[in-house]
Symmetry: D2
Subunit: 346 residues, 4 copies
């Protein structure tokens, strides 16, 4: 922590800050320049409320030096974490693809889509049973019935299942049916939910909030890891900016930034990060080219009939083309696509 | 809903769209210009998934015409809603001030601050018992003990109590102690929480998410109102932008925009919307000048010792100055400050 | 300047940084914490390229401590600068209002509007002769003919004239006709233009770019002041954010922030910062309440016929109401509206 | 153009709008729903000021339907435009790379870097002679001397030269030395400059403003094309958002969006769009994977000594690695890297 004094700070004000630092058992290192003095604080800074120093007379700014996250940081854990999910590995040399509909709508729709994405090369199935919707007047999901349908789709296709929990009390239920619990973008800072998922020790897919910084995403992951649950995959899904040509702005920079700051696997959701199916393939390729460990893609057998997000869902044949393109990009960056799941024999 | 066709759309594509519109029992009105055709859809648009039309061949864009919220809209409810709270009225001719610490930290701190804000002219007391914190390593609130302290402060001062619930299961507990349940910015789209607060019929303070649009804020309020609970006060508390000189950017425009779009009361939180105590007075004045129905301000008897948000908290004497300034501005815009709460006689 | 080393930086890497600092004749002050070392650099930092240190092995970040602007800074010039304009003073105790049409369109329109705003209490007349327009197909301004009409309006009404120059070669021409040269938001970082206006020694109105930070605005002003021209008034005119309910987002926080960082006068443009005439009055009041030294407002005698910005222009009678409200707010904050210009006797 | 009436608009107000539409010789098509009436306007909308209708009584909103750009639109020019530059083709099947230092600093630096990037496979040389700098106290470029050095580098290496003009009067000078005139991000809406470059008929590289929408970028290009100059290459170089982990946010979505909206070539500048050399390779790969026609990359033989942007410049050996990676990605998307320039025989 660096305490920057005002240019007109008095010697007495400087001394008061030093004294206060020392009451915490920390040391104060002075750098006195022509314009101003900067006081470096050495010691256990986490116990010192930064606001306390901001409020002292003569203080201009307080600059944190340590990063606020520890367990998620690559500085203290340099090697990659691999998150394993029923034969699927996130964060290893191979690239993984999760695919499926935005919402679980009915049995026929889900099974048709599940079979189609498995045949196209997907490794896991996504589909929402509990849906966070902007409007109270739109489809809110099938709830537990949706979870049962997902379990049936897993039994039929062998695909691992990824689905969202929206509140702490849903966590045990979702954990019973799903291989991986998704925490949606709107809930990235729902701390009660983060704690519940952390305590469950279940693999988690943590989506970045649409206006969360990279640092805030890592702090949200820190909540889960603080329960001893390291099975966390991070997901860039687009941020909110002034640009309206697409639903969100894919923060492609976040892929290499996250890979350098944390040991956790990082995937991209090109469906939400663009909001238009026409752009999903291009951005999926870009994600893998930038170093993402995988993708999560919305696919619907009949997107024009989807109850949610039809505009950004791929039809199965376009998804199959996407998987082929992603495999080519993975090869070009010295990785490969994880092998397709074998059909479940009847 | 307007369906804009591509410039090169064929007659057959146009006909397909019209047919689809009619299957919903709606009517299609054509405007064929030199460049392109636009199809106006008249009928119960809420039953028609917009995405369905976006996916049809020849369609360029689909533009919604109706606003997605109804119960919160001033179009269908032109007169102001007043939310009443133990003698305090939000949304009437008088301006109301809520004040208190960010967190309830201990009995002495809370009572000292509560008495100070009452004497300065505040009408209600704020203070968090459950705290959403970015870092798992910082103070997370006193929980129910904090609620008990708030109840004690109310008994001593006569101030109504406003405090936050962070998850659906906390709602009954918080409702037992608080006059008004706050839904924090991070939880603005926590739909399980919105539904629980709606069902409770308890007065609610709904804070705008830091990257939520005005329309999304109104949609979140719609969740609460859809339970028949109209006791909702909206709160602008700053949005996230590129500017880093302040913690957030006060969207002062949102005050007159919300007052024109909705009948619900609107207040401003100048503490969070600036993040620096030096700017709180100026922005509090601006809020009332722009038409806000009240303020919620962080005040701490000893901000340099606060466990959270000390940098943006006012000391009681500065808060007293703020109240005097706000009263002058209220007069200048033809309103007045609500009368101060009388001291509770011992 | 603070050089933050990586947690795993070697002693050799730290020594290399210290040696490099010393080659500039500066001193390096070490703070070695448990996790990492921070090197404070004391000396003439402006001669040291920050990028040089960022590139050195073992360096994590370089944090500037000094503010990059000097002449505009209140730290080195604590008292307010007053900019004087033919009897109108910006930055003094009184509040000043500039008003007029977006563009000068024709003689009748301009004179009618000029007389109307003078009668309503405006102190200066705005109006564009050279217009920056997003589309090449829209009205681009009358050019020098517009300047002549502005001069005529000044002669008739006694109002000072504020109008925009868009390129360095227009500066002498505009300076001949105008009392104050406006640098528009799109040109805030047009350095050739800033230098030309600086060299002209003419009073300047510098509008904040729609995505410029407060610091960048002050750096742009620094270009003008570096020519010895201190006659600069800063103008907040809204920034670009994700919110689309208004054309721009008024950064009301910028008013007190600028007033604390710089000695230059600061005014607000509520017409551009909202983009809707219905919201202009509320935001004008908010600006003065927040401490602005004045306003610049778009007024058009017949806004429904305006060639540009009709949607945000006030009619004269609404402008007159605005001036009365602003006067009341100015009184409430201990200032007053500057006295109206007397009619020019014929 | 669609004119949306308020829910409570009267028949008389609707009639007034229709009458006004007809005074322009256009037709009004009514869609009257349960809640409100929408009036579609058919005819030459470009002659009708949209603001005029916004101001009419009973009008809620006016929604434009036609895109405001024509010459740049793929709707009216479906095939790709190729921009040719001394043997280098932008917008064809092959991918092109421009590389070089941020600024031309001196002869030795420029020639060393130019030879290095040619050997690594670059097709054109970038380097600024006129530099837009945030601070008046930093290096502002060598001016014409820099242009002469660029010409010398071209003669020595055979690389085409791309360099920036900052004001209209610099255009003839820059055109004399450069194969392509760059219009920088800060000048994207400097209309005098756009007009001068358009009139020059010289090939232009138009960089997106850091807060410009895709539509505004296309409108800026429209200024150049309106002079009959179609030799325009568009460049995404990062936008300004709330995220501070990188200098800007690469709007990777803009690549496929632009490729679908316009026939002009589109390239990416991963140096400015990230601001950190460590991320440049990943984002360069992403750009080509997303469909960009080329890249412009900052390379400096000795970035730790650069007078500007050293922190984001690649060393020649890293640039060579980047070119190899980009070639692999180009192959993976069915394109190829343009062949390297042969050495100029001495």
């Amino acid at each position: 922590m660096m305490i920057v004094m005002r240019t007109n700070a008095t010697q007495r004000e400087i001394k008061n800050v030093i004294d206060r630092v020392q009451t915490y058992g920390a040391q104060a290192h002075l750098s006195s320049g022509e314009e101003r003095t900067v006081i470096g604080v050495v010691g256990d800074v986490r116990a010192m409320p930064r606001d306390e120093f901001i409020r002292m007379d003569g203080v201009d700014r307080v600059i944190p030096i340590s990063r606020p996250y520890k367990l998620t940081s690559r500085e203290f854990h340099p090697w990659n974490t691999e998150v394993r999910l029923d034969g699927v590995v996130f964060g290893g040399p191979q690239v993984v693809v999760i695919a499926g509909p935005c919402s679980v709508e009915d049995r026929a729709q889900l099974l048709e889509t599940a079979h189609a994405v498995r045949e196209a090369g997907a490794h896991a199935l996504r589909g929402g049973a509990f849906k966070p919707r902007t409007s109270p007047y739109t489809f809110q999901g099938l709830g537990e019935e949706g979870l049962e349908l997902l379990a049936e789709a897993r039994a039929e296709t062998g695909l691992a299942v990824v689905t969202e929990a929206m509140s702490p009390e849903q966590v045990p239920l979702v954990a019973r049916y799903a291989d991986m619990i998704q925490i949606g973008a709107r809930n990235m800072q729902n701390y009660a939910l983060l704690n519940a998922v952390g305590a469950s020790q279940h693999p988690a897919l943590l989506k970045r909030g649409l206006s969360a910084t990279v640092e805030e995403l890592l702090m949200a992951a820190e909540y889960i890891l603080s329960h001893g649950n390291n099975n966390v995959v991070l997901c860039e899904r687009g941020i909110r900016t002034f640009e309206t040509a697409t639903r969100n702005t894919t923060d492609i920079n976040a892929i290499p930034v996250l890979k350098s700051l944390t040991h956790l696997p990082v995937i991209l959701d090109p469906s939400h990060s663009t909001g238009h199916w026409e752009y999903v393939e291009a951005i999926a390729r870009a994600g893998i080219a930038a170093g993402a460990d995988g993708l999560i893609v919305e696919v619907h057998a009949h997107p024009e009939e989807a109850l949610s997000d039809g505009g950004q869902s791929l039809k199965p044949e376009r998804f199959a083309a996407l998987v082929r393109q992603v495999a080519a990009i993975a090869d070009a960056v010295g990785r490969s696509l994880a092998p397709a799941k074998a059909a479940v024999s009847g």
